[in-house]
């Protein structure tokens, strides 16, 4: 109750200061990241499901080729924000961005002139539950290319191998590329989904709790993979697992009840958070 009140006061404060949140203001541009180019820039984003507001004035910046983790209790809006980045929320009736802008490379992605198809090709996504198509492993990887009109077998072969290697899955499946993808284990399926996402060479990969349905060994593999992918891609990951955020992200943003409470370098968030709620959450004192 106290916390809720605190949040309410906090958001009023933030509102009166026109979104100049005390900690969100310099989000992602502290320390070493100052030199990194900002890829995604959110400015006072509000989001509504029908009448109920899911996001309240979120402002943050996500730098290029870094792993940014979104943490927070269930229902705090972190997945919603993530799905705003490739406009997957468009699929939900009545869901809309009500105010604020999200810019990628300086382009407002909610501009009516934006080609959603092209946006989604550049912003790949990996879902909470692995969802390979009921096709062969090969065809799963090819899907993104085939819909773009690429049918050259040699190119496809090359991309399949490269993507599977990129997702650290090649050695495990190279002998059964034409078997159904549904025959893979959960962890393999999730890595296949990552391979499928990187096959279309996106710039950003959004991961919505990619390890929540996996066992610790599979989780470790995916985390290792995230570490590798960071060299080439900008990654935004939503996770419930604090350790995971600590292990594999460079920046961490803490959300609570649709508000961005704090965003900073991961190390700082976990060792010396500015806000009390963040500390409480990280140390497991509430939620």
């Amino acid at each position: 109750m106290e916390i809720q009140e605190a949040i309410m006061n906090y958001s009023k404060e933030a509102g009166s200061q026109h979104g100049q949140e005390p900690s969100g203001q310099n989000a992602g541009v502290t320390g070493d990241d100052r030199e990194a180019r900002i890829l995604i820039r959110c400015d006072k984003v509000n989001f509504f499901y029908g009448q109920s507001q899911a996001l309240h004035g979120i402002s943050l910046e996500i730098p290029e080729k870094q792993v940014t983790a979104f943490i927070g209790p269930s229902g705090c809006g972190k997945s919603t924000l993530l799905r705003c980045f490739n406009r997957m929320n468009d699929l939900i009736d009545d869901a809309k961005v009500g105010g604020g802008t999200i810019k990628i490379h300086g382009v407002d992605i909610y501009d009516p002139k934006v080609d959603v198809i092209e946006l989604r090709k550049r912003v790949g996504m990996v879902f909470q539950k692995s969802n390979p198509f009921p096709k062969s492993i090969y065809e799963n990887i090819c899907f993104g290319l085939r819909i773009a009109g690429m049918n050259d077998k040699s190119v496809l072969d090359e991309v399949v191998e490269k993507s599977l290697r990129g997702a650290a899955l090649w050695e495990e499946v190279k002998d059964r590329l034409h078997d159904s993808a549904l025959g893979l284990s959960g962890g393999q399926q999730q890595r296949l989904c990552i391979a499928r996402a990187i096959a279309v060479r996106p710039e950003i990969i959004l991961m919505d709790e990619p390890c929540s349905a996996l066992d610790p060994i599979a989780t470790a593999k995916v985390e290792e993979l995230i570490h590798e992918l960071k060299k080439e891609y900008t990654i935004v990951i939503v996770t419930h697992n604090m350790q995971q955020a600590g292990r594999c992200s460079d920046l961490t943003a803490f959300f609570y009840l649709g508000h961005l409470i704090e965003m900073d370098v991961t190390e700082k968030i976990f060792t010396n958070p500015k806000e009390k709620q963040t500390e409480d959450y990280i140390t497991g004192r509430f939620g």
Binding site: I117, E118, F127, K129, I147
Partner: protein, 533 residues
């Protein structure tokens, strides 16, 4: 003290509950037995229906076998050789009329007057008149010969009746009276020997026909219209084919032997592969199911060709593309169609669809279409259209279910990879739901092939194999179906007769077709469940 009384009350509650009991059964048991009883009755009734169907139908075989034997013994087979020739010749005669019609049409288009046309057609008329005289001798012979097997059969029937009368008397104990009944035995070999004596006369007639036809071939006049010329070429070809066939027929007639045994399997094969279904004729009843099967199959095929795109397309649209408001409008509306009684649909088919289709084909702007104008208002096409209307709700509902069962995650994954809506539907949704869609189509097919009222009303009910040489026009010919035939003939058939049994056999055939379709649909659905789960 307190604890002891509490203990006591728990025991009371557990052991001495005064629940309602009937015949030692409590309420739960009664409910359980009630439902078990319902299920049992349903199964027993279904089993009884199946058993009854087979019991009534299976006797078709001995009866049909008997009928086939009599067909040979009485010499009907022999006479039918000549009858075939006679029908062939009359068909050729009809072709001369067709030529005349086609030619006069062209001449009229050229603006010639009635008198001029008559003048131009004079040579053709002369030819037609001569050709119509060709079969005269043959027809006379056929008429004479027809009497013989009919007479033999009549006497055979009398003998059989006498025999059964005698058996009845014996069973009643009236031996003396029974002995008084004289039972003849017909010697079919001797009776039919007379048929063979006509062979020389037959050969003579054949020779004359051949001579006439060959002679007339050169007398075919030339035509102005290309259509008539094509018809005349076909006529020539068929006429020569006929003359070539004469020696074959003669050979068959010479070798014909009434005593030759008939294999028992013919009782089945003549039913399944027989191309004629003729009942209650004065001559001989044929029970070949092919015309009915072809009619049923073609009507269902046409219905499916029309219904599948509409049903599946609507399902895809409603599930994947339509807004909430459209969904709420379209779904109940399509399902509402299945609430229309089929007889009302049939009425609509006769009064509106059949009439308007015929009116449309008679428009001069459409006369370039090869098979227009159509002559029959009630045909395969009208029946197919109405059945398609009846199959659409079934296919739509089941296909929509199948598409709805495709996990949302597939759609999300596809869209997240940059696929547009159409690509997602074509490459992900439809392939994943395909087995469900196929099952929906099969069940729709089962519904269509079993439908009776509509086809009885609008299919035209002509029992013959449609003329496939007409190309697409074959769909504008009348046909009869297995279901329609049963409904039509069952009312006027003598119980226990061969025809009665034959109708049951048609019913059994339908039963197997439906069983097969449903089995396939079930199998595909099961497979689908495994792959999606």
């Amino acid at each position: 003290m307190n604890a002891a009384s509490k203990q006591q009350s728990i025991e009371d509650a557990l052991l001495k509950s005064k629940k309602f009991r009937l015949f030692g059964l409590n309420a739960d048991d009664i409910i359980k037995h009630f439902f078990a009883g319902n299920a049992t009755i349903a199964i027993v009734v279904l089993a009884l229906i199946t058993v009854f169907l087979f019991r009534e139908g299976i006797e078709f075989f001995p009866k049909h076998y008997e009928s086939l034997r009599l067909y040979r013994w009485a010499g009907m087979e022999f006479v039918d050789y000549l009858k075939h020739e006679s029908t062939d010749l009359s068909a050729l005669n009809r072709m001369t009329n067709l030529m005349k019609r086609q030619e006069s049409e062209v001449l009229r288009m050229k603006g010639l007057s009635q008198a001029q046309i008559a003048e131009r057609l004079a040579p053709l008329d002369a030819f037609a008149a001569k050709f119509s005289e060709v079969p005269d001798g043959l027809n006379g012979l056929v008429a004479d010969l027809t009497e013989i097997p009919v007479g033999i059969l009549d006497r055979h029937k009398m003998c059989v009746n006498a025999q059964s009368h005698k058996t009845l008397l014996i069973r009643m104990g009236k031996i003396a009276e029974a002995n008084a009944v004289k039972v003849d035995v017909i010697d079919f070999g001797k009776e039919t020997a007379i048929l063979k004596t006509f062979l020389p006369q037959c050969t003579e007639i054949h020779a004359k026909i051949k001579q006439d036809i060959v002679g007339l071939m050169s007398a075919i006049p030339d035509f102005e219209s290309a259509e008539a010329r094509a018809t005349s070429l076909l006529f020539k070809k068929l006429a020569l084919k006929f003359t070539d066939g004469i020696p074959v027929t003669e050979k068959k007639m010479a070798e014909w032997n009434p005593g030759e045994p008939i294999h028992f399997y013919r009782a089945l094969t003549d039913f399944i592969f027989g191309s004629r279904w003729v009942t209650q004729s004065f001559w001989y009843d044929f029970y070949g199911v092919v015309p009915l099967f072809v009619g049923s199959f073609m009507i269902s095929l046409l219905a499916m060709i029309l219904a599948v795109p509409f049903g599946v397309g609507a399902a895809i649209y409603v599930n994947q593309m339509a807004s909430k408001c459209e969904q709420n409008m379209i779904k109940p509306y399509i399902e509402f169609i299945s609430a229309i009684p089929s007889v009302v649909l049939g009425f609509f088919g006769i009064a509106i669809l059949g009439e308007s289709v015929r009116w449309l084909t008679q428009q001069s702007c459409l006369s370039w279409v090869p098979f227009f104008p159509i002559s029959e208002r009630l045909n395969i096409f009208t029946a197919g259209c109405l059945l398609a209307l009846m199959a659409v709700p079934t296919i739509f509902s089941l296909a929509e279910d199948a598409i709805n069962n495709v996990p949302k995650a597939y759609k999300e994954a596809s869209l997240a990879l940059g696929a547009n809506k159409l690509q997602t539907v074509v490459r992900i949704i439809v392939p994943t739901a395909l087995s469900g869609i196929v099952a929906a189509v099969l069940l729709g097919f089962g519904r269509v092939i079993g439908e009776t009222m509509v086809v009885l009303l609008v299919a035209g009910n002509r029992i013959s194999i449609p003329d496939f040489t007409a190309g697409i026009g074959v769909f504008f010919q009348p046909a009869h179906t297995m279901t329609g035939l049963i409904a039509q003939e069952m009312g006027e058939v003598v119980r226990g007769s061969l025809q009665y049994r034959a109708l049951f056999m048609v019913g059994i055939l339908l039963f197997f077709i439906s069983l097969f379709i449903n089995y396939m649909a079930q199998k595909i659905v099961t497979k689908y469940r495994i792959s999606a789960g």
